[in-house]
């Protein structure tokens, strides 16, 4: 493995340096039919799950086949996507905001061969490489974050939980039989690097044990003031500690009852790990959020399951609870009604009943100001 230079000279970093050029111009990448009819689309139709037809004022049509992806993919798979796009789509392809891939063709007769080609491709393990769906009143791909594949604060795995839930609800991806869109998201810690806080269903990895303090090394590898400042709830203070061997070291003390298990301190100071595979870490489930302004205002998701254990590799409890919620929603909601609108119409007390979920004290908000607004200030409730 010999080092091959790109042309960059470490002794003269500024030589020939190009900076601040930004992304490549998107216009270079538009398929001809898209470029021609840009801003002149009349209407669209979903011809079948995963297949859209957009009609332009010019009379042109573009047919889009949408397929799911695991988001985490290697360049071999991306090259295969390119090969398909070269074969069927004149060398153009796009991704959606929810990690689906869209193949576009400019006439209807090109759709069937494209679909057939996509569905014929499977991984050696048996899963589809390019399942078609994710449109209309159904479930689309689950937005998710890094998890154990790449993040230091992850309390659960993102790719694994998503794969387990998508396998179980695969039919909702390939069909359109729900009352409205169902947007599901996953974040692997309470930082929630995604729109989990505004999704129909979200599951979030979280820790439940405060950091362990590695007194022996803390002062050597961390800046104590930075660790103290990192804590959003001011649970950390500087202190001096006697080690078993008699030496006195600078370290920190943590007020455990103030800790909200966010992991910010660990980001600043690796001597404060908080992951715990011995019963501490797991997931919560949140529901009822939305970002669209359709009919009702955008809404935040609410926590409806206080804890689901980490059960790799297939997280059966998580999968089961998500299914319970989807089935109750599918049965109870009116046409066009999003999950949160349905829950508000029937009342949250009824939601817990029909989803067969337990309401525990953990679900009563006691975190700062917004909590009050979630308590009930009326006699309009149901028995």
């Amino acid at each position: 493995m010999a080092f091959i230079s790109s042309g960059y000279d470490p002794k003269q970093p500024m030589k020939d340096r190009i900076t601040d050029i930004g992304p490549k111009d998107y216009k270079e990448f538009l398929p001809p039919v898209i470029k021609k009819n840009y801003g002149k689309w009349l209407y669209h139709e979903i011809l079948e799950p995963g297949v859209l037809m957009h009609k332009a004022e010019s009379g042109d049509e573009v047919y889009t086949v949408r397929v799911g992806s695991p988001r985490l993919m290697g360049v071999q798979t991306i090259r295969e996507i390119c090969e398909i796009a070269d074969k069927h789509c004149g060398g153009h392809v796009r991704w959606t905001t929810r990690n689906n891939v869209e193949f576009m063709v400019d006439s209807k007769d090109k759709v069937a061969p494209l679909k057939e080609d996509l569905l014929s491709r499977k991984h050696t393990g048996g899963s589809f490489k390019f399942p078609i769906g994710g449109t209309g009143a159904g479930m689309t791909n689950i937005i998710h974050t890094q998890g154990w594949v790449h993040c230091h604060t992850a309390a659960s795995d993102a790719s694994g939980t998503v794969k387990a839930v998508m396998d179980d609800l695969f039919d909702e991806f390939t069909q359109m039989r729900l009352p409205a869109q169902l947007r599901v998201s996953m974040a692997c810690c309470v930082n929630m690097c995604g729109a989990v806080h505004c999704s129909d269903i979200g599951f979030v990895g979280y820790h439940r044990k405060p950091p362990i303090i590695d007194h022996k090394i803390l002062d050597q590898i961390c800046e104590v003031p930075l660790a103290v400042a990192a804590c959003p709830t001011a649970a950390i203070r500087p202190t001096k500690v006697d080690l078993p061997d008699g030496t006195k070291v600078n370290s920190v003390a943590i007020k455990n009852e103030r800790c909200m298990f966010c992991g910010n301190c660990y980001t600043m100071c690796p001597a404060l790990p908080l992951s715990d595979g011995q019963g501490g870490d797991g997931l919560i489930i949140m529901v009822g959020g939305k970002v669209s302004n359709r009919i009702s205002n955008p809404k935040f998701s609410k926590v409806v399951v206080d804890f689901v254990p980490n059960e790799p590799p297939r997280w059966p409890t998580l999968v089961k609870k998500v299914r319970q919620i989807v089935e109750a929603y599918s049965k109870g909601a009116h046409k066009y009604e999003r999950l949160g609108e349905w829950a508000e119409r029937i009342g949250w007390e009824r939601f817990f009943e029909v989803c067969d979920l337990e309401f525990t004290w953990h679900l009563i908000d006691d975190f700062r100001d917004p909590a009050y607004e979630t308590w009930r200030q009326t006699t309009n409730f149901k028995f």
Binding site: F3, L30, L72, H92, R94, V149, A154, S292, P298
Partner: protein, 437 residues
């Protein structure tokens, strides 16, 4: 032959949904075979070791990644995230496994020619594993070593005409929906606006100057496909001000059942015959629609452009022609004082290239926030701390009843002295001349 046994991960190769485990294995095998004779610049077995360390996490239920050490490219304060494995002896291939964020093209369209070049570079100088795309919108490349960072940056800028994205207390890579390129609902050219602002504010994107991160996102209409209202410090949402365009013939075709409602989105279940009264008119949140015989009427002045009727009858109804966008400020995830949606600060602004008016507003906002924002305070939190009115003053926009959901429920108004007749400077003698002690 696989380097590590991965019995737990192997379970995730089963089932219909595309398996990320199969995908990593595929990359591992391709590197081991190396049919194209690539001179890999980072360990050949990087993907095997990624599977190995992931299997370890599946066994013990804990992550094995560490934060630590600032890495990056010369002159930039973002775009690369340092990542190290805490079991480097067991998994030397991923001992250093940094993330590179590559700025995506607006709207996420690609030519295969460009994509293949990206793949060649990343296979050569990194693990080959990617996220298409990260939640912010970037192309995310997972896993390379420190010496490769400058080389990757050099090749990206010299050969691929592409830059890194943002991370840290920077402007983050702006993102948009696909807008006018293929959506008939788009009231603004979301892609162009996104691309334009990304270029305009390059300096902020690459060099930390803010108290904390700052995100722009653009949705072409209130459907919000890029979730800007929930995820961006400054959200642009396309709107129209005039009338919904109605094709009465198509309305009748929907009523007659000739066109499936909502573009066919509900085709998978028998919801019964389409009923315009029940499904459109009664669900309109402002109750501004009615039928006169077989003609659909809309009192457009009362419409709040929620999109429902247009979504449900796309062939009969179209957005208006006097278009622009609303600006909403300060959305964020729940960390720390609870989640915030974007708050409306500008109900309507014209949105046409070169976007001068919009850029002026942004500059005022940045200047103010760099001055007044506390360290690690999102702009939404700054706004909460100092109040919405102060922000409107900063932006020099007029006060408008549209920016509140409802007026205040307390009379604790902080009047300004100049607003009160006679001012606050009063003499006790005058008062006493009217009131004895």
């Amino acid at each position: 032959m696989a380097k590590h046994k991965t019995p737990l991960l192997d379970e995730l190769e089963k089932g219909p949904w595309p398996s990320f485990v199969s995908d990593i294995k595929r990359e591992a095998e391709s590197r081991a075979k190396n049919e194209k004779g690539v001179e890999y610049q980072i360990p050949v077995d990087v993907c095997d070791d990624l599977l190995g360390v992931l299997e370890l996490s599946y066994t013990d239920g804990e992550t094995h990644w560490k934060h630590g050490g600032i890495v990056g490219v010369f002159g930039y304060g973002g775009g690369v995230i340092g990542r190290y494995c805490d079991q480097p002896e067991m998994f030397p291939g991923v001992a250093h496994f940094h993330t590179v964020r590559v700025n995506q093209p607006s709207g996420l369209y690609y030519s295969t020619e460009f994509l293949n070049k990206l793949c060649d570079l990343w296979e050569f100088r990194g693990s080959g594993m990617t996220n298409m795309h990260g939640s912010t919108g970037d192309i995310v490349w997972l896993g390379t070593t420190t010496p490769q960072l400058e080389e990757i940056f050099y090749e990206l800028t010299h050969n691929l005409d592409t830059d890194l994205g943002g991370s840290g207390s920077n402007l983050r890579t702006p993102a948009c929906c696909l807008g006018m390129s293929r959506c008939e609902y788009s009231c603004i050219d979301a892609q162009d606006l996104c691309n334009d602002l990304t270029h305009e504010f390059q300096d902020f994107l690459h060099r930390p100057a803010f108290p904390y991160k700052f995100k722009f996102k653009m949705d072409g209409c209130p459907n919000g496909c890029v979730a800007s209202i929930a995820r961006s410090d400054l959200s642009f949402i396309g709107l129209w001000k005039d009338n919904i365009r109605i094709n009465q013939e198509a309305v009748r075709a929907y009523i007659g059942g000739e066109i499936p409602p909502n573009g066919g989105a509900h085709a998978g279940r028998d919801w019964g015959k389409f009923n315009i009264q029940k499904e459109i008119i009664d669900l309109c949140p402002t109750k501004c629609m009615w039928m006169e015989g077989d003609t659909l009427k809309i009192n457009d002045k009362e419409c709040n452009h929620c999109m429902h009727c247009i979504n449900a009858m796309p062939r009969a109804l179209r957005i208006g022609e006097d278009t622009g966008c609303a600006l909403l400020l300060g959305a964020k995830a729940p960390i720390l004082d609870g989640a915030q949606m974007g708050t409306l600060v500008v109900p309507f602004i014209k949105c046409e290239s070169p976007y001068t008016e919009i850029k002026d507003l942004i500059e005022k906002l940045f200047e103010f926030w760099m001055e007044e924002g506390k360290n690690r305070e999102r702009v939404g939190e700054t706004m909460k701390r100092i109040g919405l009115y102060k922000i409107l003053q900063v932006l020099e926009v007029e006060v408008d009843a549209r920016v509140v959901q409802e007026p205040r429920t307390n009379p604790y108004i902080f009047w300004k002295e100049e607003e009160v007749t006679g001012g606050w400077d009063r003499k006790i003698e005058d008062y006493r001349s009217r009131h004895k002690m």
